[in-house]
Amino acid sequence: MSRLYRAALLAYPRSFRRAYGPELIGAARDLRRHGGVSRTRLALRLAFDIVCTAPRMRVEAAVRNARVAGVVSLATIAIVAVAVGSSVLLVLIGSVVGLLALLGRRHDRPIVTNPEETARWYRWLMAAAVAFAVGFLALLTSDGDELSSTAWTIWMLAWGSALVLALFALVLGTSHAIHRRRAGL
């Protein structure tokens, strides 16, 4: 009974289990010893209790994690901007020069010149969507506020990949549109 309940507590976020796990187990034990509740009734009561409370705590933890993620992202951007300000400036200058060069191209010349490749631009977008969904699932299942956890790592990698893949899709899609225009379609 105790082992089963201990295992069922995995439904709760890790931070809650760490803070109140022994208390939850102690209260269940007290209910069994002093509450005059039969083993079956107690098992049903505890199962119902977990079903009613764990999902809400998971959602609350996910919302809290999303807030933490936002703050951490902003803090990271700020630290990078301050710490490597000069490098960022150089990158910005390079980007502006590159952008100007890109804008200077003739409008009827696609960035990617292989039409077969650009026709499959939507695959990159789908891959980006999948990566975004994986990151979202990781965010939902991330347990507690520990940024070093596996779920957080998956979330950061997945959303980072989703961003890059979406950019690829944008470039290929733009090129494909130019190809189509040139072909008169």
């Binding site: 709760y12 809650f16 109140y20 939850l24 102690g26 209260a27 009613c52």
Partner: protein
Amino acid sequence: MAKSKPAGSGEASVESFLPLPASAMHIIVALAGGEKHGYAIMRDVEELSHGVVRMGPGTLYGSIKRMIDQGLLEEVDERPDPTLDDERRRYYRLTALGQRVGAAERDRLSRLLSAAQVRQLGLGFS
């Protein structure tokens, strides 16, 4: 749903907690008699409600966690008397804000009950 407010942030913040969730009000009433550990709160809530409200451990400690975060409860560092009870238990008590919020909720419910009596709620269905 009660909003998370820092403890002792004035009368306006007391109003922002109302109406309290039923589980929170039950816990406040249970702790109005003094500090208690989790199981004692569960037992007290069941007795106060004549067996109608039976909190499970997850409901109880979920509410306790939220109420501590909101500044309504606090954990007691010292044990009342370790020889009388299991000293591994954690005891909780109301904060000053928790007492004010409890009193405000009591007044709110009291006004609601008065209105129900004035309008003779339920008498037409006896």
